[in-house]
Amino acid sequence: MAAPKKAAASSPQDKTNGGSPPEFTREQELKALRDMLLIRRFEEKAGQLYGMGAIGGFCHLYIGQEAVVVGMQMALKQGDQVITGYRDHGHMLATGMEANGVMAELTGRRGGYSKGKGGSMHMFSKEKHFYGGHGIVAAQVSLGTGLAFANNYRGNDNVSVAYFGDGAANQGQVYESFNMAELWKLPVIYVIENNRYAMGTSVSRASAQQDFSKRGASFNIPGQQVDGMDVRAVKAAGDEAVAWCRAGKGPMILEMQTYRYRGHSMSDPAKYRTREEVEKVRHDQDPIEQVRNRLLAAKVSEQDLKAIDAEVRDIVNASADFAQHDPEPDAAELWTDIYR
C-alpha cells in the first residue's frame, strides 16, 4: 500500500472534495446518524445542565465535530485503543461507553465512570479500550504512542488512535512521539482534530505550518487532510490509516478539518470569531444534516429518522435524570484509589 496522497489545504467551508468519498450502505448511514445524534444531544444536554449548575468546573463540548470520532470508530475493531484530550465526551460515547456513566461523572456522582473523582476531562473504560480523558494539552499523544508501543511489544494487531487538536499540535512532546513512533514503527494513528481555534487563537495566529498533515514530514510519517465534516470521508481515511498501521508500516497522521460550534469551554464568549462564520458552517456543512439529507434522498422515511431522534433523546434524558439523582460519592472515597 502506498502512502496516502496529501490533499491540498483548505478550510471546511471551501472544502471541495477531489471526488466524493465512498458511499455508505444504508445501514452505515443509519449507524453514523444515530451515533452522531447521540453525541450532539448528549452535549446539548450537558451544556444545559452546566447552565443549571449541575455540572461544575470545565466542560468542553464536541458539538460540530461528531463526524470525526464516529467515522474513525467505524474503521476500528474490538481491541483498538482510543485516547484523547479534554474535549472527550464524544469519544467516550463513540467507543460505546454508557451515557449514564458519562453524564453522572459530569455531575460528580458515584455512578460516574470515575466514581465522580475525574470529571469531564478524566474518564476511562478498560472494557471499551478508552484510555482517557487527559487535561494537559498533548499529554495523550505520548501516552497514545505508549499504547501502540504495548501493542507492538505484545505482537498483537491492535492499533491505537491518539486524538488531539490543532493547538496541541504545537506542543513539543507531539514531535518527540512522532519520532519514536516512526523509528519503532508503532501502530498509532494521530488524528489531529483541526477545529481552527486553539481556545481563542486561530490556526493562522498560532501555526507556522497550517497544513497539519505535513507535521510528520520530517519524521517520514505520511499524512492526509480529510473533510472532517463528512463522516464517509473520515471513515475512508480511517480505513486507510488502520490498514497502514496493522500492516506494520508505522504511524500515520490524519488531519481532520472540522469545526466546533460552541465555545472552547462553557465560559468562552467566543469573541474571536463572528456569529456568521459559525452559522455558515452549521448551514453548509453540518455533519449530521449531511447524513440526514442523504438518507432522505435515498427515500428513508421522516418517520424512521424521527424514531432515531426519539431513541437518542430517551437515552440522553435518562442519563440526565440519572446524573442528577445518583448520590454524590461517599466521603470515604476521598481516600481510595490513590494506590492499589
Binding site: 505520548s142 501516552l143 519514536m180 492499589r340
Partner: protein
C-alpha cells in the same frame, strides 16, 4: 627532566581504576596523541593518550593492576637526550592520592569490575529482612541494581527497560550492563534524547498493562518529564476511580554527583515525595538497592527510584537468596543508640554513619535510621526512636526549605512533641544552586562535622 604520566580520571566520580593494558613498551618512541595504555573502571574503558613526546622510560604500574588511584604516576616519559639514568629525577607528584593498594593482577576472565571502596558499614543492627545464616556476596550497588532488573525481567515478560543509552552503550553509568545481551533489543530499548516523550510512552505502555522500567540518565533531566510523571502516572488511578493504574518504575541517579555544577546536581527527594500516587524510594546500602528495586518493579503503582551516582561503585553485602525483596515503606535502624536519633536516606547516610562514629568517641550513642523509602514514610520507626532518645537530627543533601527533613521534623512535632528534649535539628544542602568549584561544592553539601555539631547541640553538649 623526565615527565610523569598520571592515572587519569574518566568521570567526575572516579577515584580509582584498573590499568588494563600497556600499548607501548619501555624504550618505544612516543608522539603526542599516541595511545599508550588502556584503563578501565566498572563503567567504562578508555585509552590514555600521551600529551608529551619522547621515549617511554619506565612503566611504574604493570598492566593488569587493579584499583589504581587517580593521579598515581603510572609511567615516565624521557625527553630527547634523557636516559634511564635520569628517571630518578622525575618529580614526585605534588599531591598523591592514597597509594594504590596491593595490586594483584585482575583475573582477566572476570568482568572488568574493580572492587571499589566499601560503603561505610557501621551496621550494628541485623537486617530483619535477611534470615540468619544467609550467605552474603559482595557486590557494587551498580551490580545489585543490574541483578535486580535482570531477575525481574526473567520472572515477568511484561517488564522491560527503556532510556537513553541503556542498551548498546550498556548504560551511561553501566547500570544496565549485560541486559541487552540477555534480553535482546525488544526488552532493552535505547530511546532518543527525549525525556518528556519517552516518559509518556512508558506511562502509556503501563496503562496498557506492561511494566516499564524507565531510566533517566539523571533525575535532573526528568524535570522535562515531570508532567507525565505527576499528571499522568501519579494521578490516573485516582482520576479513573481505580480503573486504570500504572505499574512503572522511574529510576536513575539523583542529587549531587561530583563537580557537575548546578543543573546536574539537584536532589529531587522532596519534590517527588510530596505527591500522592507516587511511591518514592531512595536506598543507601547495596542490599537495599537490590531488594527495593525488585519490590519497585513488582509494585502496581508508579515508583520513583532515586539512586546516587556517588554510591554506584560502592560495595556492600547482598544476601544470596533466590528472591530477595524488601518491602517498600519500611525504614531500618542501621545503628542502635539511646542519646539522639539521626535520620537520613541515600547518600545522606554516609554523613550520618560517620558522624555516629565520631559521636561515639565522645560518649554520645546515636541511633541512625535509614528511611530507605520517602513515601510512604515509615513515621512509626522515627517516632519510636525519638520517644527513646528525645532528640533528633535529620540529614539530607537537598535544600532545607520544604525539604524531607522539614517533613520529618513536623511529624516528630505532631507525634512526639512531649518526648522531645530539644528542637529537631536539620542538616541539609545549603540554600544555593550547586557551585562548580571544588571548595565551594564541599561547602554547599552537608558535612560530617555539621552532623556531629547538630547532634551535640540537641544533646546540649
Amino acid at each position: 627532566m623526565p615527565i610523569q604520566v598520571l592515572m587519569p580520571a574518566l568521570s567526575p566520580t572516579m577515584e580509582k581504576g584498573n590499568l588494563a593494558k600497556w600499548l607501548k613498551k619501555e624504550g618505544e618512541t612516543i608522539k603526542s596523541g599516541d595511545v599508550i595504555a588502556e584503563i578501565e573502571t566498572d563503567k567504562a574503558t578508555m585509552e590514555v593518550e600521551a600529551t608529551d613526546e619522547g621515549t617511554l622510560g619506565k612503566i611504574l604500574i604493570p598492566e593488569g593492576t587493579a584499583d589504581v588511584a587517580v593521579n598515581t604516576p603510572i609511567a615516565t616519559i624521557l625527553a630527547d637526550g634523557e636516559t634511564a639514568a635520569d628517571l630518578a629525577k622525575a618529580p614526585a607528584p605534588a599531591k598523591q592520592e592514597k597509594a594504590a593498594e596491593s595490586a594483584p593482577p585482575a583475573a582477566k576472565a572476570e568482568a572488568p569490575v574493580p572492587k571499589a571502596a566499601p560503603a561505610p558499614q557501621a551496621v550494628a543492627e541485623p537486617d530483619p529482612e535477611v534470615p540468619a545464616g544467609t550467605e552474603m556476596i559482595t557486590q557494587t550497588i551498580r551490580e545489585a541494581l543490574r541483578d535486580a532488573m535482570a531477575e525481574e525481567m526473567r520472572r515477568d515478560a511484561d517488564v522491560f527497560v527503556m532510556g537513553e543509552e541503556v542498551a548498546e552503550y550498556q548504560g551511561a553509568y553501566k547500570v544496565t550492563q549485560g541486559l541487552l545481551q540477555e534480553f535482546g533489543a525488544k526488552r532493552v530499548i535505547d530511546t532518543p534524547i527525549t525525556e518528556h516523550g519517552f516518559a509518556g510512552v512508558g506511562v502509556g505502555a503501563a496503562m496498557a498493562g506492561l511494566k516499564p522500567i524507565v531510566e533517566f540518565m539523571t533525575f535532573n533531566f526528568a524535570m522535562q518529564a515531570m508532567d507525565q510523571i505527576i499528571n499522568s502516572a501519579a494521578k490516573t488511578l485516582y482520576m479513573s476511580g481505580g480503573q486504570m493504574g500504572c505499574s512503572i518504575v522511574f529510576r536513575g541517579p539523583n542529587g549531587a554527583a561530583a563537580r557537575v555544577a548546578a543543573q546536574h546536581s539537584q536532589d529531587y527527594s522532596a519534590w517527588y515525595s510530596s505527591v500522592p500516587g507516587l511511591k518514592v524510594v531512595a536506598p543507601f546500602s547495596a542490599a537495599d538497592y537490590k531488594g527495593l528495586l525488585k519490590a519497585a518493579i513488582r509494585d502496581p503503582n508508579p515508583v520513583i527510584f532515586l539512586e546516587n551516582e556517588v554510591l554506584y561503585g560502592h560495595t556492600g553485602e547482598v544476601p544470596k537468596l533466590d528472591d530477595f525483596v524488601i518491602p517498600i515503606g519500611k525504614a531500618r535502624i542501621v545503628r542502635a543508640g539511646s542519646h539522639v536519633s539521626i535520620i537520613s536516606w541515600s547518600n545522606g547516610m554516609t554523613y550520618a554513619l560517620k558522624a555516629a562514629d565520631e559521636l561515639a568517641k565522645d560518649g554520645i550513642e546515636a541511633e541512625v535510621i535509614d528511611l530507605r523509602t520517602l513515601r510512604p514514610m515509615d513515621t512509626e520507626t522515627i517516632i519510636n526512636s525519638v520517644k527513646k532518645t528525645g532528640r533528633a537530627v535529620t540529614v539530607e543533601e537537598g535544600w532545607a526549605q520544604s525539604g524531607v527533613g522539614a517533613e520529618i521534623a513536623a511529624r516528630i512535632m505532631e507525634n512526639a512533641f512531649d518526648y522531645l528534649d530539644a528542637p529537631v535539628a536539620r542538616v541539609s544542602g545549603k540554600d544555593v544552586p550547586m557551585p562548580y568549584a571544588a571548595n565551594l561544592e564541599k561547602l554547599a553539601l552537608p558535612t560530617v562535622a555539621e552532623v556531629v555539631e547538630a547532634a551535640k547541640a540537641v544533646c546540649y553538649r
